[in-house]
Every structure is written in structure tokens, then in C-alpha cells.
């Protein structure tokens, strides 16, 4: 494991400027594999989703999956790319047992989609990430390394391979180098990953389950001294498989490279592995030794030539993209950029939208999700969507507050009850007796008691110090265990004390 020195992030950013690059692999959600009819479902027993084509048995020939071609073009269109009028698959040759063919069918100098962009929002600013290319290839098999001290490939005695994943359609999305991110590099990398995932979800082309590897990132980072215009040597951290790890790997790599460069050392172009437990990277194989893939046009497949009219119809049928949806909702809800960004970061936009759809005013829906519920989710260490409460239930609570049956304090107790599994909002209100006290007789009795117990405060109010009534209202609220209507209590108190505002 790493014993390398790191430079504190702030110091690293004072001395160096980072340049980022991100390659993202997305497994498409097709029913069958890229070049054969084997199923793509996750988690099957090993080597049960394999056939002569994806096992590369002699004589077997690939045929491209029409749905995968279509999905890739839709991804390209959603990322504002140009779609090639004619392009080919290419054969990427390498010796490694994760592909039984000894090559991977990919695309090389003729990607299906190129030159696009994706806008992401960080710190209230829009950052445009330029997309170099989007191409289609096939995923590889899964190796398990046996023996050795670490369970990793280095030092393993041998490996065992499951080819269920080999041949699943895989889209690779490559950004152009991203300079000028400055100290926001880790956040921008994460925001890009988040936005890309939402685009994939919106298109319905992948389940984008990062924990199952259906979306994973290779993170390129280089540093150059402040004031320099010549980019430094980059490293590539492979297979980073959570958004949080994307952010951490960029930060960790900046801190590591800065320490080496500041100490007079140099960065070697290499692939690195990210370690979840420490947030650091360690060296993988050196890039120089493995770069000669001898790409050539794949002779077993004919060129792809998407019909222009068909591509135009796919573009016209794209669903509303996440950024456009956010803009629309922001306008409908009338909230500030900052509030919208906060909801976006908390993954609350869909929940607020559903709550509004269930009848709640947008301001109330946002207040509960971003206030009380965000606090509880944070305490429990779970995302908002995993709280045991539904948008419909929040809308019901909002309606009860609006109708005067609950005040905010009682509403919080109702939410607590629902989160505790005590039932629906109405059931919690009934079971806990949380109805606001609207009965004037009961309220008057409480007020009389409070006035008797707080004679000094009452005299102050009588003598004209109206501000002192606050303490008395507080007493009424306390005596009613929060169930009194504070506004009405204040009116009645002033009336009884014979003063008016």
C-alpha cells in the first residue's frame, strides 16, 4: 500500500493548476449482448450467459445489436455530439484473459459520436465539459485472482474467469482535457459524473448501477505549475466506481502529484488503482508497456451508416434532459439558483416534484424535504429517497398545516411518527393526539392558568409592555404541549389583559 507523501490540498492548489479528463464506461441496458443473443442480466451463476460468439469459439461470427447502436446514438445526441454518417468497429488486440478472443471489438478513429458537450453546475456556476467522443464497444469478462498475499493481480498464483459480462454492450464517453477547473476540480469531476448518470437515467439506456459496475470512471489528472501553459504528465486512475470516489480520487491524486513535483520528482504516465478505504491511489501497470493495441478495422462486421432522417427522428424524440427539467421546475417553483442547487445536491428535486404533484405548495414541499427531512436523513446517514416517508404523506401533512389542523411544531412530530413507522400522517395525529387546540374553552382555561402562574409578566403587559406577552404565549404553548394555535393564544391573552397593539 501507499506510503507516499501528500501535499495538503490548499498548498497544492496554491502552487499547481490541475487539468482533468474523464472516461466513463456505461453498460447499456439491452436484453442481449452486443454481438450475440446471450442475456445481460447481472448476478447469474458464472459462465451461464455465454455462447460460441462471446467465448470466441472457432468459426463464430458477431452481429451487432440494433438496440445498442440506437442507444449509443441517443446518448451522443443528448450530449450534443455530431453523429457519424459512416463509421466502423475496430479490433483492439491484447493478450489478457478477460477477453477470450485476445481482442476486444471497440471503435478507434471512427467513433459513432464526437464533439459534444455537457453543462454541469458547480457552486452556482455552469461549467461546460467538452465531449471528445462517444463510442461503442463490448465489456470484458470478470477475473478473480487467487493466491498471493493481497488477492490482487500482482503476486496471484493464478486467476479464474467468468465470461458472463464479456460482450455486454459498453459505451465509452471521453471528455476533452478540462483545464481551468482550479480548486473546484474534484467537485467538477463529481458534478460531471452525477449529471452524466442523470442523462443516462433520463434516456433509459442503462440502469447506471455503479455498485454493480454498470457505470464506472477512469479519472485522468495532471498538474502544471501556476503560470505555466504547458500541461504536465497525466496519470489515469482506473475503474473508480462511485461518484464520491471520483471526487476523492481527483483530490488524492492532486495531493500526491503535487508532493512529487514540489520535491523535484517527475510524474510517470501510468494507470493507478483507487483504494476506497484510504482515498489514495497506487501504481498499476505502466502505460508505456501496454499501449500497442494494433487497432485495425474489424473484418467480421460491416460499417455503420446511420440514416440521417432516422438520426433526426431519434433527436426529435429525446426526452426532456435533466438540466432542462431543472430549469423548468426552478421557474415553476420560483426558487433561487442557490436553493435549486441545494436541492440538486441533496437529490431532492424528484421528491419535491412528486410532493408538489401530490398537491403541496412548492415552498412547503421544499421546506420539509430540505429542512426537517434532510436533517433526519443526515442523522441516519441515508439518502433522502431512503427515508420511510412518501411524497404523498408529506403533501398530506402540508394540507393539514394549511387547513389549520397542525402547526409546524406538531407537523414535525407527525413526520417523526411516520418515519418511526407509526403509520400514515392521519394515523399518527390520531394516535399521538396531535390535533391543534381549537377549542376556545380549553384554550381559555390554559390561558387563565398561565396568567395566574405568571402574575409579574401579566402586570408588565397590562402596563403597556406588549413585548412581554411573548413569554406568556410561550407558557401557553408549553402547557398545551405545542398543540395551541400560538396566534390565537396571543390574541386572547392581549384581550384578557385589556391591551391592544
Amino acid at each position: 500500500m501507499s506510503t507516499e507523501t501528500l501535499m495538503p490540498y490548499d498548498e497544492a492548489l496554491e502552487r499547481f493548476e490541475p487539468v482533468l479528463g474523464l472516461e466513463t464506461h456505461v453498460e447499456l441496458g439491452t436484453a442481449s449482448k452486443m454481438f450475440c443473443g446471450c442475456p445481460t442480466t447481472f448476478g447469474a451463476p458464472p459462465n451461464t450467459h455465454v455462447c460460441p460468439v462471446c467465448l470466441a469459439l472457432p468459426g463464430a461470427l458477431p452481429t451487432a445489436n440494433a438496440a445498442a447502436i440506437e442507444s449509443t446514438i441517443r446518448i451522443g445526441l443528448a450530449l450534443n455530439c455530431s453523429i457519424a454518417e459512416w463509421c466502423r468497429f475496430a479490433r483492439k488486440n491484447y493478450f489478457y484473459p478477460d477477453m477470450p478472443k485476445n481482442y476486444q471489438i471497440s471503435q478507434y478513429d471512427e467513433p459513432l459520436c464526437s464533439d459534444g458537450y455537457l453543462d454541469v453546475e458547480v457552486d452556482g456556476k455552469t461549467v461546460r465539459i467538452e465531449i471528445e467522443r462517444v463510442h461503442l464497444e463490448e465489456d470484458t469478462g470478470k477475473s478473480t485472482h487467487v493466491g498471493g498475499a493481497t488477492g490482487r493481480i500482482h503476486g496471484a498464483d493464478y486467476s479464474i474467469v467468468d465470461y458472463n459480462r464479456a460482450g455486454i454492450p459498453l459505451v465509452e464517453i471521453v471528455t476533452k482535457p478540462i483545464p481551468g477547473t482550479d480548486r473546484l476540480a474534484p467537485e467538477i469531476a463529481r458534478a460531471y459524473g452525477t449529471e452524466l448518470r442523470e442523462v443516462m437515467r433520463g434516456l433509459g439506456v442503462s440502469d447506471v448501477r455503479m455498485e454493480e459496475g454498470s457505470m464506472r470512471f477512469d479519472v485522468n489528472v495532471s498538474l502544471m505549475p501556476r503560470g505555466s501553459s504547458e500541461w504536465g504528465t497525466r496519470t489515469e486512475t482506473k475503474n473508480v466506481n462511485s461518484l464520491r470516489s471520483v471526487e476523492r480520487s481527483v483530490r488524492g491524486e492532486i495531493e500526491r502529484q503535487a508532493a512529487i513535483l514540489a520535491g523535484g520528482g517527475r510524474i510517470f504516465q501510468e494507470t493507478r488503482h483507487f483504494h476506497e478505504n484510504t482515498g489514495t491511489t497506487t501504481s498499476g501497470r505502466s502505460k508505456e508497456e501496454a499501449q500497442d493495441y494494433r487497432y485495425f478495422p474489424e473484418p467480421d462486421l460491416v460499417p455503420i451508416a446511420p440514416d440521417t432522417a432516422w438520426v433526426a427522428s431519434l433527436k426529435a424524440a429525446l426526452p426532456e434532459l435533466p438540466s432542462a427539467r431543472r430549469k423548468r421546475l426552478q421557474q415553476e417553483w420560483g426558487v433561487s439558483d442557490l436553493d435549486m442547487a441545494a436541492m440538486h445536491n441533496a437529490d431532492a428535486i424528484g421528491l419535491v416534484e412528486a410532493t408538489v404533484a401530490a398537491g403541496a405548495p412548492p415552498a412547503d414541499a421544499r421546506k420539509w424535504w430540505m429542512g426537517e427531512l434532510a436533517r433526519r436523513a443526515n442523522e441516519a446517514g441515508v439518502p433522502l429517497s431512503e427515508l420511510l416517508i412518501t411524497p404523498d404523506q408529506i403533501a398530506r401533512v402540508c394540507a393539514m398545516v394549511a387547513g389549520g389542523a397542525l402547526n409546524d411544531k406538531l407537523a414535525r412530530q407527525v413526520l417523526e411518527g411516520v418515519l418511526n413507522g407509526e403509520g400514515s400522517p392521519d394515523e399518527v395525529v390520531a394516535a399521538r393526539g396531535l390535533q391543534i387546540v381549537n377549542d376556545e374553552g380549553e384554550l381559555t382555561a390554559i390561558i387563565d392558568q398561565v396568567l395566574a402562574d405568571n402574575a409579574a409578566a401579566a402586570d408588565k403587559v397590562r402596563s403597556g409592555k406588549i413585548a412581554a406577552v411573548g413569554a406568556l404565549v410561550g407558557g401557553v404553548m408549553k402547557a398545551s404541549r405545542g398543540k395551541a394555535d400560538a396566534g390565537r393564544a396571543r390574541e386572547l391573552l392581549l384581550e384578557k389583559l385589556g391591551v391592544s397593539e
Partner: protein
């Protein structure tokens, strides 16, 4: 006049995982040179109006519908494997201790 060098043959041999003796490098360099020369003659007859191609048939857009077909059974799939462990293909050590 393309001349394949000994170093180029050695590089190709390494990429292809072929262990070639020194005298074989010279031998194959000469042979590859002849092959490249023969293929290069195609360029002499290819006029500007003949687009380069990578497939024998002038076809595009040959696809299959996204439909699942039966896979092999694990026994069938593994029947040709030299070694099997835990339902998986067992392969020799991939990388050494270095790096």
C-alpha cells in the same frame, strides 16, 4: 522500398507472445518484407475513384434485433477449457511480482 527491420519483427513477436530466436528474426524480416511488397502492389492499381474498404462485401448496417437466444450450459461452455475451478476458466498467472 519498404524494409522491415529486425527490431520491428522483434516488437511484433513480443506483442504476439512469440518466442523467436535471433536467426528467425532475420528470416521473418525478409519474408514479411516480401508480403508487404506484394500487398503494396494493390496501391498501384487503386485509382482515386476506388474508396478504401475493410470488408469484401459492399454492405452497411447489418444488425440483429435485441433478442435473447439460449446460451450454452456451463458444462458445454467449460468443456474445452484446459482447467476449470468454481465454474470458471482457470488461467495461469497473468502478471509477475514486479510492478
Amino acid at each position: 522500398m519498404s524494409a522491415i527491420t529486425r527490431d520491428e519483427v522483434a516488437h511484433l513477436a513480443r506483442l504476439s507472445r512469440l518466442a523467436l530466436a535471433d536467426e528467425e528474426l532475420d528470416h521473418f524480416a525478409a519474408q514479411l518484407d516480401v508480403i508487404i511488397g506484394a500487398v503494396a502492389r494493390v496501391a498501384e492499381v487503386a485509382a482515386d475513384d476506388i474508396p478504401p474498404s475493410s470488408h469484401a462485401l459492399p454492405l452497411t448496417n447489418v444488425y440483429r434485433p435485441d433478442e435473447v437466444r439460449p446460451s450454452l450450459t456451463p458444462d458445454q461452455a467449460l468443456s474445452g477449457a484446459p482447467a476449470v475451478e468454481d465454474g470458471r476458466f482457470r488461467v495461469p498467472r497473468i502478471l509477475g511480482e514486479e510492478a
